[in-house]
Amino acid sequence: MPTLGDERFEVYLKQFRPLVPEPLPTVGLGHQARRTFVLWAWITAAAAILVIGGLTLHIRSNRARIIERVGNSERFMDDRPLTIRTANVLLAKAPSFKAMVDDMAFRSQTIPVPKGKRSAIAVLGKEKIKL
């Protein structure tokens, strides 16, 4: 075999590639940490979905209850004229003071007139008053 010059011999030696070492233990840990992170992300997302779903249900049921209460109070208001007593009853049943005031403000003002009697406002409204 012919003797190689220094440079060609170096090139020949470099063709032998050193073997790759075993992977670092931390690389494995990194993968594990990533897997744990993904797992925690899924758990957090599932928990968030559950919480949001629960809140939505709670809000919907509350709203339905409030609407029902308002409906009841309106029926109550329609039946009787507004007095201090009915106002007290409304205040006791309403979810808040503001709700009670709103109920009273928007209630129907038509008070039924008992049979055989006439409303003074209706009579005065029909008369032609000359000033």
């Binding site: 075999m1 011999f9 170096e10 070492p21 233990p25 931390t26």
Partner: protein, 170 residues
């Protein structure tokens, strides 16, 4: 602990890039693959833990110095003059020529320890004579002359062996 993902990623990148040459160098120092592997792992695990590689100016030379220290410390605990392990391969040979790989390993084994280190650092570690002189605390001239001697011995040893093998077949 000042460990950050950026540092860890950089250290893992350096491990992939220089790991093979560092392992070979550690094998040249310790003579044994398992001890060499331990030394290289020890260095990189410490670096990941401390995250202090960013301070090193010449990172490659720094890694070789760390691996040399780790391998020598490991060697101090055990028998330092262990002969090279003849059974475990060191290289992936060209064209799967495993006989040539064994031949090269035997030739490296026949070299004195200091010459073997210089050859490995220059050929496979791709360090300059200046970097090797800093690493081994020698003058550049000493490194260059050790390299020339080692290269000549290696060539003689490898081709003498191949010629003798060829002759034995005749």
């Amino acid at each position: 602990m000042h460990r950050t993902d950026g540092n860890t990623a950089e250290i893992e990148f350096l491990y992939r890039k220089h790991g093979p040459a560092l392992l070979l160098f550690a094998q040249a120092v310790t003579g044994e693959r398992n001890r060499a592997q331990d030394a290289v792992h020890q260095v990189f695990l410490k670096l990941i833990e401390k995250g202090s590689l960013s301070r090193a100016v010449d990172k490659k030379a720094y890694l070789f110095a760390c691996v040399r220290n780790a391998a020598l410390n490991e060697g101090k605990l055990q028998n330092r003059n262990t002969p090279l392990d003849p059974d475990s391969a060191w290289f992936s040979p060209p064209d799967r020529d495993h006989a040539a790989e064994q031949n090269l390993r035997r030739a490296l084994d026949a070299l004195p320890n200091d010459q073997r280190q210089v050859i490995v650092l220059h050929i496979w570690g791709e360090l300059t004579f200046s970097q090797i002189s800093d690493l081994l605390h020698l003058s550049s001239n000493t490194v260059a002359s050790r390299y020339r001697y080692a290269l000549a011995k290696l060539r003689d040893s490898m081709f003498a062996k191949e010629n003798s093998c060829a002759n034995s077949w005749r």
